[in-house]
């Protein structure tokens, strides 16, 4: 490989400000996107507890349902939707397939991702409600 003839030189070193993520909208949205992981994790842990409590027996089983919990769930839902939206649209632009040697346009892939999401939500929601009767 080639070489470059160099001379060292005093320079001003760039340092990233600690609040870089608060300085620009895109960066902030990125941090929010990553942060969604935390509330979602907490909610899943709650679900795990709920499952565990099914072992308490018929007499003592009381499903969770306090107002603060509903509020928490609403907040989690917002994060969850943001996660779904960002993840599916980003993943959609990355996936690349070829059908009959032609690349599938990424708009189509994104759309089908959201389609999959909608379908899965309907099926799961239906099951959760249907079997409750």
């Amino acid at each position: 490989m080639t070489t470059e003839a160099h001379t060292a030189q005093p320079e001003y070193r760039w340092r990233m400000p600690a609040d870089w993520w608060a300085r620009q909208r895109h960066y902030f949205l990125y941090v929010v996107r990553e942060f969604t992981a935390l509330p979602l994790a907490l909610w899943l842990l709650w679900l795990l507890v709920e499952i565990k409590r099914a072992g308490d027996g018929p007499g003592r089983y009381a499903p969770h349902g306090s107002m603060p919990f509903v509020v928490f769930s609403v907040v989690v839902l917002l994060f969850a939707l943001y996660h779904s939206y960002t993840f599916l649209s980003l993943a959609g632009t990355i996936l690349h397939f070829k059908v009959f040697d032609r690349p599938v346009p990424s708009r189509l892939i994104v759309l089908s991702q959201f389609g999959l999401w909608a379908a899965a939500s309907v099926v799961v929601g239906f099951a959760l409600i249907w079997f409750a009767r």
């Binding site: 080639t2 470059e4 003839a5 001379t7 030189q9």
Partner: protein, 570 residues
């Protein structure tokens, strides 16, 4: 690294320079190659070429037609042996570029596609979408990275050629980053410094196109050949000078005057919009003068109309042009005509070099736009220049490597003294000079406007004499120049001053060469001598540096082999 030494030193990292460096290494893997460039190689102005590179690629084309088109286009000022060799080598180089990864646009069967271009009788212009120069430059640059024999000095500005006993033994370069002067010695030196468009105000050329290599060679005693031959491209955007590629006309765009008329029918009835650049530019200026141009805030202009092609064709074939129109003029070329006017574009003239790039100074070679190997004569055909950079860059690289392997090594002794003298000169003239009063910017701007006015599309004895006088005045003012910047670190005002010095030098060589050529040929159109005069001027002009503003001029016969000069009509 005060004293770096190479076998072959390439000055310039554009298409010609990079091709030369690789050719030198491939000719002899043992040569040590140095490359000095005042910008990182991928910033070189080759990057802005849009249209394509010409070569005979298909079976129904022939070397002879390519040669004839080139020679007729040159108005018979091209050296025909050079043209013939060029047409044979060009396809080889195009394939070589392909092997290195250039993303040439393709035919359905996967072979390299070609498109029509002005002045070419058949389709022979290879292209990579509408960014041919960009793709070619990045391809050769990235390929060059794999050779361990090549050492680059990026952002180093060559201020002087080291010549000892009429042999070139290296250069003095200013390391822009540190402000230090280095002697970079070599057994052979290749100049590939590109064009000089910035001596004009209205140009398609980038900021770095200041004719440095021509001035360096000129001062070292090499003649500058055919400097009066400056190409004006018909379609530049007013104000910025950004080029609207010839492909717009290739795809069927019309040129219209203010009366809505395709005026080219009066000038190149058979070719219309695909006539050669010099003739179309003159036609436009003539129309302006006869009152049939549009008036705008940046002078007169014509309309380049592609509206009849429809949005589909435009978006598929000219997307970059639509973008340029939207951003730089605020129009949509689908619904509005594009304002255009002739713009300085290319320098046919340059450092006197032969078919293998050799100059009269031993060990000094030249290639690319800064050289004149005799290919382009009075007018270059569009798309011949990128091929020229490849063919003659490679030739110069091979010749320099060959010469270097037998040449004597360079001795340190006189080089040190020359380095010291040069460093002192620049420091005394710019950095340490007291009492300067003139700014670089205004002198440069005045020179550019003077050149537009005096040595533009049409010239006369009066315009050129006035220009010569004014250049003298500007030179005097330049002696009193003041530099604001006293720092050594990345001092771009010093480089601007050095460039202006070079530009004043080449501007005067253009002016005096043009003054002496009392005929009209190719791009050189004298109002006072409207006819071509083969009896007197079927000759190359050679301008030699003197101690005064005016060069000493000599003439050399043009090499004619197969094609006898005829009238040039289209």
């Amino acid at each position: 690294m005060d004293f770096e030494s190479y076998d072959v030193l390439v000055v310039g990292g554009g298409l010609a320079g990079l091709r030369a460096a690789i050719a030198a290494v491939e000719a002899n893997p043992r040569v040590k190659v140095g490359m000095v460039s005042k910008v990182y190689p991928m910033r070189s102005h080759t990057v802005s070429a849009e249209g394509g590179a010409a070569a005979v690629m298909s079976a129904d084309d022939s070397y002879d037609t390519h040669a004839f088109d080139t020679i007729k286009g040159s108005d018979y000022l091209a050296d025909q042996d050079v043209v013939e060799a060029f047409t044979r080598e060009a396809p080889v180089e195009i394939i070589q570029m392909e092997h290195w990864g250039c993303p040439w646009s393709r035919n359905p069967d996967g072979t390299i596609a070609v498109r029509p271009f002005g002045g070419m009788t058949t389709w022979r212009t290879c292209f990579a979408a509408d960014k041919t120069g960009f793709h070619m430059l990045h391809t050769v640059f990235q390929t060059s990275l794999k050779y361990p024999q090549i050492t680059r000095h990026d952002e180093a500005f060559v201020t002087k050629l080291l010549v000892e006993d009429s042999r070139c033994v290296g250069v003095v370069a200013l390391d822009i980053r540190t402000g230090r002067f280095d002697a970079i010695t070599a057994r052979s030196v290749i100049l590939a410094t590109g064009g000089l468009g910035r001596v004009y105000a209205f140009t398609t050329n980038g900021n770095i196109c200041t004719g440095d290599g021509m001035a360096l060679a000129y001062r070292a005693g090499v003649g500058l050949k055919d400097m009066e031959m400056v190409q004006f491209h018909p379609t530049g955007l007013p104000f910025t000078g950004i080029l609207i590629t010839e492909a717009v006309r290739g795809e069927g765009g019309y040129l219209l005057n203010s009366e809505g008329e395709r005026f080219l029918k009066r000038y190149v009835p058979n070719k219309m919009e695909l006539g050669p650049r010099d003739i179309i530019s003159r036609a436009m200026v003539t129309e302006f003068e006869e009152g049939r141009g549009f008036e705008g805030p940046h002078g007169k202009y014509m309309h380049l109309d592609v509206r009849h092609l429809g949005e589909k064709v435009i978006d598929r074939k000219l997307p970059f042009m639509r973008e340029l129109g939207r951003e730089f003029v605020g129009i949509d070329i689908v619904t509005d005509p594009i304002p255009v006017r002739p713009v300085q574009h290319y320098m046919m003239g340059g450092v006197d070099a032969d078919i293998s790039g050799e100059t009269p100074i031993l060990g000094l070679y030249a290639a690319g736009e800064c050289a004149n190997v005799g290919l382009n004569g009075g007018n270059r055909l569009g798309s011949n220049s990128l091929s020229e950079c490849l063919v003659f860059g490679a030739a110069a690289g091979r010749a320099a490597a060959h010469y270097a392997s037998s040449a004597k090594p360079v001795t340190a002794n006189p080089v040190d003294a020359m380095l010291w003298d040069e460093a002192r000169r620049v420091e005394a003239e710019y950095l340490e000079k007291k009492g300067g009063v003139e700014r670089i910017g205004p002198i440069r701007e005045e020179m550019q406007l003077e050149m537009d006015a005096g040595a533009g599309v049409f010239r006369t004895k009066e315009s050129l004499s006035r220009l010569a006088r004014n250049l003298g005045g500007l030179r005097e003012r330049f002696e009193k120049v003041k530099v604001d910047d006293s720092s050594r670190t990345f001092n771009t005002e010093i480089t601007a001053a050095l460039e202006l010095d070079f530009m004043l030098e080449v501007a005067s060589s253009i002016t005096f060469s043009a003054l002496a050529r009392e005929e009209s040929r190719g791009a050189h159109a004298r109002r006072d001598f409207p006819e071509r005069n083969d009896a007197k001027f079927l000759k190359h002009t050679l301008a030699f540096h003197t101690n005064t503003l005016a060069p000493r001029l000599e003439y050399r016969d043009v090499k004619i082999t197969t094609f006898k000069p005829q009238a040039r009509t289209y």
